[in-house]
Subunit: 202 residues, 2 copies
Amino acid sequence: MAGAIDFYFDFSSPYGYLAAEMIEDLGQRCGRAVNWHPMLLGVVFKSTGGQPLTMAPMKGPYSVLDMRRSAAFYGIPFNMPSVFPIATQNPARAVLWMQQNHPAHAKQFTLELFRVFFRSNRDISKLDVVGDVAAGLGYNATDVIAAAQSEDIKNQLKANVETAITRGVFGSPFFIVDNEQFWGADRLPMLERWLTQGAWKY
Amino acid sequence: MAGAIDFYFDFSSPYGYLAAEMIEDLGQRCGRAVNWHPMLLGVVFKSTGGQPLTMAPMKGPYSVLDMRRSAAFYGIPFNMPSVFPIATQNPARAVLWMQQNHPAHAKQFTLELFRVFFRSNRDISKLDVVGDVAAGLGYNATDVIAAAQSEDIKNQLKANVETAITRGVFGSPFFIVDNEQFWGADRLPMLERWLTQGAWKY
């Protein structure tokens, strides 16, 4: 099988959520596995001088409109969370733990976290909400909450974010496949054509 | 006929160039006229704190790749200019003059300016290059250069940029139709569906 698609995302990223809803189908159509990498855009922004989109002058109000309209365009349910942006260490760490301990459920857990935030307006920065989502998949909430606070998982997430930055990841969602970078849910059609029509030169 | 599409662009914007190559066909498919508005992103950025994309950390190198790949995706010839970004007062002013004095040629003149910059690597910030492009369409280069330096045209461009900012324009290309805003050449498919499927709610 050809190389996997690396999918980087931050849980506080609406376009990351939209991509999470679409990337597995794209991978299947293209015969590529998808590796999901939670990361922390706040740490990335310290390297790049970036800022949360919704806080930018003029661009901020437009971006909220674009998020809602993009979701409608793709046919994906979406509600702008009332608390936004949020810190995403806790859900990111819980996903790392799930990936290592129950890999078969990790993507479903990730999607479910995105959905409770961007559909049901629940603040997934809170450990108890992360625990609830894990419980919904049949896991013990207390175990997941404890795991997400372990030093080992914390250090792994830090290392993963550093690796992402080293690979040039500066936003969410971000995709790397066959050393080609794509930034944004709106670049998925381009990524797909690039894979299916054979890495055209440009 | 339904309301026109207002198309705002800066001549130093690669995505503005790509949009300029596509927007008239879109307008025809949707039964909408397109009004072309040259503006100055440098002035806009003073209001928004924005900066030229290619100069942003990490995002800069990616953006050049994305510009070239996007052009290939749309099937539009593109060469990254060796001098970039450029000041765009001169071509913007010349276009205003052309719009007022020879409206039938104004869009062709605008497209030709974009093309000599983004295909032929000629620096359209220079008045003599702007004059050459006008001459290529049968106009007297000296007349166009003089017109582009008139106080009247300078003031009109200033006023137009202020109007654009007032309407929420913060980037290039930017489209407003039926009071709906769209930013980016990559939003043209969404703009088209929004027009053809009737301004969906979101």
